[in-house]
């Protein structure tokens, strides 16, 4: 089968995407497929039309590749592709959209407020900051709405730190959200098809936050998979994750990140195209479920070609 691997692009997670893409290409080759690697750029559509791949493996992260843009094009061109469809990607990529949907489905997500730059520049939203800080408490988390790998995520320990955290987060996106900080265990539930894979826990070095470096530096963070959870915890976590996956309309695969606090799971976000690098969580979870990386890739392709079989 001729498989186009879409990777790179110009999102901030280009580097991560190139690593994901390389791993996927390798697995596809070993599986005996014809691989067409594409570093996504201006000639994407032209190349897809000329090369006519049977299926596209989307190994892109961040804006452009994970937000539905590329998926939309693939849908128009009638090329089956891996991972969620354009609409689900758009919902997952935008944390504000995702949180609206999660809340509507009555799933637990930390209290939050969202602002775009215009609100501050033109509508004097700064005057509302005090009130929302009261609601959320400190420390609070400031996140760009569309972003991945924890890029631009800032913690503010006091009101005086909020403006600077906002300026930083706004460097990554036009819209940011302020969120209550929930203390607990960092968990990720990957879903393949409609099946949850074993829960992965990121166990950080003391004093570390689960930031970009902690995610991708080998040996920096210890990952436990499956995470040590009681049966009850595991059920609560898995249910919350599956609920999120369905609510956002994901198909193929996705990874749901959440915090397990003393009072139960709190959903943070859904990743429509989770990382597939050496330190990424989806491959680890698959492995714990007995799937080698090649088997994982093959399964993802199957789901793209025969969605009904999921």
């Amino acid at each position: 089968m001729k498989v186009a691997v879409l990777k790179g692009g110009r999102s901030l997670e280009r580097g991560v995407s190139l690593r994901s893409g390389a791993r996927v290409e390798d697995a596809l080759e070993r599986l005996g497929h014809e691989v067409l690697p594409i570093d996504v750029g201006r000639d994407l559509v032209k190349r897809l039309i000329a090369e006519r791949p049977d299926v596209a493996f989307v190994a892109m992260h961040g804006v452009g590749g994970e937000d539905g843009t590329v998926q939309e094009l693939l849908e128009i061109l009638g090329i089956p592709f891996t991972g969620p469809g354009a609409a689900a990607c758009a919902r997952c990529m935008d944390k504000v959209q995702a949180k609206y949907s999660i809340e509507e489905a009555a799933l637990p997500t930390p209290a939050w407020f969202a602002f775009n730059q215009t609100a501050f520049r033109e509508l004097g939203a700064a005057d509302a900051l005090g009130r929302l800080e009261e609601t959320l408490g400190f420390p609070l988390v400031v996140k760009p709405s569309r972003g991945g790998s924890s890029l631009g995520v800032k913690f503010a320990a006091a009101p005086s730190e909020v403006p600077q955290a906002l300026v930083s987060a706004f460097s990554y996106d036009e819209r940011v959200l302020l969120e209550r900080y929930v203390e607990g265990r960092e968990l990720a539930v990957s879903v393949l098809g409609d099946e949850p894979l074993p829960v992965v826990e990121a166990i950080l070095l003391e004093g570390d936050r689960y930031d970009f470096e902690a995610r991708y530096e080998i040996g920096r963070t210890r990952f436990a998979c499956p995470a040590e959870l009681s049966a009850e915890e595991e059920r609560a976590v898995t249910e919350a994750a599956l609920g999120t996956y369905r609510t956002l309309g994901c198909t193929g695969f996705a990874r749901i990140d959440l915090i397990l606090a003393a009072d139960g799971p709190w959903l943070l976000e859904a990743n429509a195209i989770p990382g597939l690098t050496d330190t990424s969580l989806l491959p680890q979870a698959a492995e714990a479920a007995g799937l080698s990386f090649e088997q994982l890739v093959e399964r993802i392709l199957d789901l793209a070609l025969r969605p009904a079989a999921a």
């Binding site: 997670e13 403006p163 991708y216």
Partner: protein, 451 residues
């Protein structure tokens, strides 16, 4: 003849979680301080053609005449193929040292050739001196900010790096004195002071003559080693030449690191170190262990190149080009950067160091700048202690005038947006407009045209 099947290209199999754990268990303790960073990953985007990168530290090798390159390589092939393809002495060829003596002579230094070792770039010289003298926990003092590439070397030897504040006259030697007293009272062992005294990377500042004397006197009085890294000494665009620390000291306590990277080519990977014999002895042993010898082929290339007697003229050409680009960048900064920003006005070298209001984090700003297709090095890379978040290093040697102007304009625009946003967030009115008149940014530098 039996047919050997051509091996097909294969990437390595995916590393499983178990492999990762196994490797992580193998890692030496020193790798724990070798940090990768989000910033380095973001730099993946700068490789895209639409991005104007002011982030690199690249000399403009397109200025080197290809005919000259071809002629030299042909001569080597015809006259010395066997030797040029052979191993060479660990210390380097005498003929390479003669070229080094010419370069150092141009800055008034006259070292004993036996004190010279030819290295694989100046970077290896930094590595070798650390290898010779640094035990884990030993203190290295350097400038704040300092060359990011040196910090990675220091970290890999698990040195305890202490950075001394710089101003427009370079490292503040009186602050260094106070620090030395503190270290002494804490019983900590200072192994050497690392300095880039001329047109420093990244700050672009040059240590004043008075400070140079102070530093050398301090080193001699306290019997401290100073490692003087001088990649850009001959790339001066204005002001009076300054004597290298090595010259002032005479080579007793100053170890000198030089390179052909910025005056000829970084691709040939040729640098050198000058050190007193006892240190040199250990450095040679270290070099032997590291790579036996520096590339003989490129040493032959340098020999041929110097034989043409045009090397100084080539530097003159570079100086002309880079001076123009520096002026273009300074002009663009005055036009496009906001009033709150300050920057250095280097008399030479490759870099300008700009500092923004303290509420702007340049590592985050880089994300925004990359979306506007422009890149710089966030200041944090030049510190090990998390400082530098408000500064950025801008390179003016690697790209042409038009790109410099456009690149600085784009950065200025994203800064202005952040300045305005912060104003809106805090209720402080901040002018997003660039300053009509440039701030007098503590500039002791004479403008190029006055030089």
């Amino acid at each position: 003849m039996s047919e050997v099947p051509e091996p097909t290209h294969r990437r390595r199999a995916h590393t499983s979680t178990r492999d990762l754990e196994r490797y992580a268990g193998l890692f030496a303790e020193r790798t724990g301080v070798m940090r990768s960073s989000a910033m380095r990953d973001l730099m993946a985007i700068t490789a895209r053609p639409e991005v104007i990168s002011l982030a690199g530290g690249l000399p403009d090798t397109s200025t080197f005449p290809p005919q000259s390159f071809a002629a030299q390589m042909t001569r080597i092939a015809q006259e010395s193929a066997a030797e040029a393809l052979q191993y060479g002495p660990t210390e380097g060829f005498e003929e390479t040292k003669d070229c080094i003596l010419e370069v150092m002579g141009a800055e008034g230094m006259l070292p004993d050739p036996d004190d010279i070792i030819v290295t694989t770039g100046g970077q290896q010289a930094i590595d070798l001196i650390c290898k010779a003298v640094i035990d884990p926990g030993d203190v290295i003092v350097c400038e704040a900010p300092t060359y990011p590439g040196a910090l990675s070397v220091f970290s890999s030897y698990q040195a305890d790096v202490v950075q001394v504040e710089c101003d427009e006259d370079g490292m503040r030697v009186e602050a260094l004195e106070a620090l030395l007293a503190d270290l002494r009272s804490e019983g900590r062992r200072l192994k050497f002071i690392y300095s880039v005294p001329s047109f420093q990377n990244p700050a672009g500042v040059t240590m004043s003559l008075q400070r140079r004397h102070q530093l050398v006197e301090l080193a001699r009085a306290e019997e401290l080693l100073v490692v003087e890294d001088s990649p850009y000494g001959l790339l001066r665009y204005g002001g009076e030449p300054m004597p290298p620390l090595y010259q002032l000291d005479g080579g007793d306590f100053v170890v000198y690191v030089g390179t052909f990277s910025k005056i000829l080519s970084p691709g040939i990977r040729l640098g050198w170190m000058v050190a007193p014999p006892p240190i040199m002895e250990k450095v040679v042993l270290g070099k032997q262990a590291a790579d036996l010898c520096t590339s003989t082929l490129t040493q032959y290339f340098v020999r041929e190149y110097f034989a043409e007697r045009r090397w100084q003229r080539y530097i003159d050409d570079l100086v002309e080009i880079y001076r123009g680009r520096r002026d273009t960048m300074l002009e663009a900064l005055r036009t496009h950067f906001p009033a709150e920003a300050t920057w250095t006005e280097p008399e030479g070298g490759l870099f300008i160091w700009a500092t923004l209001p303290d509420y702007i984090d340049t590592s985050d700003l880089l994300a925004k700048a990359l979306r506007a297709d422009v890149a710089f090095v966030p200041g944090q890379a030049a510190y090990l202690d998390g400082r530098g978040g408000q500064s950025m290093r801008l390179n003016f040697s690697g790209v042409g005038d038009e790109e410099i102007r456009e690149g600085v304009r784009r950065i200025g625009k994203v800064i202005a947006e952040q300045v305005e946003l912060y104003g809106a967030l805090t209720g402080e009115q901040r002018a997003p407009e660039p300053a009509a008149e440039p701030e007098p940014n503590v500039l002791p530098f004479r403008k190029a045209e006055e030089a």
